[in-house]
Symmetry: C2
Subunit: 249 residues, 2 copies
């Protein structure tokens, strides 16, 4: 009997061209898991289709991506999880698998997501976590960034923070929270919202950092939002500092 | 004027054949720093000699290796540090540099060292720190390991825990502390002592894990010590889980 399985997945995105991609699926996390599942269950190549809650850019990590897949197997979810983890490369881990309602769809049913962006602002070099942080060469003003971030919370047209210039659908999204914290040498941006446009978190972080560096005022963020013009926002912070923290349903 | 500089260095040992080595020095951390310093100060290749507090095996990491080098330069220590960090690869960081007494010798003056060995004993996979931990496939009994570890604290002949079968010098060492802690999915072995033989911490951890897995009794450790025979001790735990935490003077 075909059942619907929900997977919670963590991955180091360093060596992948993102969660999903049109072309070489062997270089995507989704493609890697699909192929491993197909081999594990002995079904033909390309027969299984894993649906993720959203895409992550090339090089972006995930602490807990949610995905679902319909499988016809008698293997227990725990057995599938353990075997999958053994066959998958060491940069992908299936944290949980359970059987859910046939109607569950990891993308359509997602109510929101939390992303965390991590910067290193110490005096040395982040030797051990260098692939998961963006190392800054200056100290940003945290308070200035917080003032700027306040303008982004709420429902807005985030066109200016969208990396896809050909985006035809609505660019209106709601950000429920945007917290900036400093702990020792690390600065984290925790962004929660109902949905995110391509590169949105990375452009928000780049723009906030420009505020923190004194290159634009906190108030300028309101103008950027109003402009609905990508060129008015800041740079796209590097992918490596970003991770999808959690998907809400 | 030639002055003596002390360096505190952290490195990810994954891509190096250890701190020092006879042959290809470009693949050692010491060789890498020496060459970078030579280029920075414009002195001939092979002229500078960086002395480390001790060697670390291929693949072993360091949070704070101490080293010293005699340099003839007018550059400030802080300037040297910043420039070195810029030119060194991202897996090596010079955390501190200061001028010390001419007589300071990082190896001869070292009074002791602390090593930390980290195991992952969770149900998933250590995706983000996989290069810095040893992932176990079973749950070791922490209390049994602590009972066994107690036999190792003090001054003993650690011949059985020495990876160099041709060792001709004394194999007597003093272990001041050997703490085993569990925090969530991670088990750490913190070992402090006046000096360590080749592979010593890794063989100790391997032997303690065998105790934790019920393959040998805690009391057996006393017999192993008495035997002075490497074959009586356990396996050599993989290099990647080990880091030199600190050197004491």
């Amino acid at each position: 009997m075909i059942k619907n399985y929900r997977l919670i997945i963590s991955y180091d995105g360093t060596n992948y061209s993102g969660w999903a991609g049109q072309k070489n699926t062997d270089k995507t996390v989704q493609g890697k898991i699909e192929k491993t599942l197909e081999r594990l269950l002995g079904v033909g190549q390309g027969e299984l289709s894993l649906t993720g809650a959203g895409r992550t850019d090339s090089g972006v990590h995930a602490n807990a991506m949610t995905a679902n897949v319909h499988l016809d197997t008698e293997m227990s979810p725990e057995d599938i999880r353990k075997k999958l983890n053994r066959y998958l490369p060491e940069d992908i881990c299936i944290k949980e698998i359970d059987i859910v309602s046939d109607r569950f769809h990891s993308r359509y049913n997602a109510k929101g997501k939390t992303y965390v962006y991590t910067c290193y602002a110490g005096d040395g070099k982040p030797v051990f976590d260098r692939k998961y942080v963006y190392a800054l060469d200056r100290q940003p003003d945290i308070e200035a960034m917080r003032r700027a971030a306040a303008y982004l919370v709420g429902t807005h047209d985030f066109m200016c923070f969208c990396g896809n210039s050909k985006m035809k659908k609505s660019t209106v999204r709601t950000i429920n929270g945007l917290d900036i914290d400093r702990r020792g040498d690390y600065i984290t941006f925790t962004v929660s919202g109902d949905g995110f446009l391509q590169n949105m978190v990375r452009i928000i972080v780049g723009t906030l950092l420009e505020t923190g560096f004194g290159l634009r005022s906190a108030e300028n963020i309101a103008e950027v939002l109003d402009a609905r013009d990508r060129s008015k926002a800041g740079f796209t912070a590097p992918a490596q500092g970003l991770r999808l923290e959690k998907v809400y349903y």
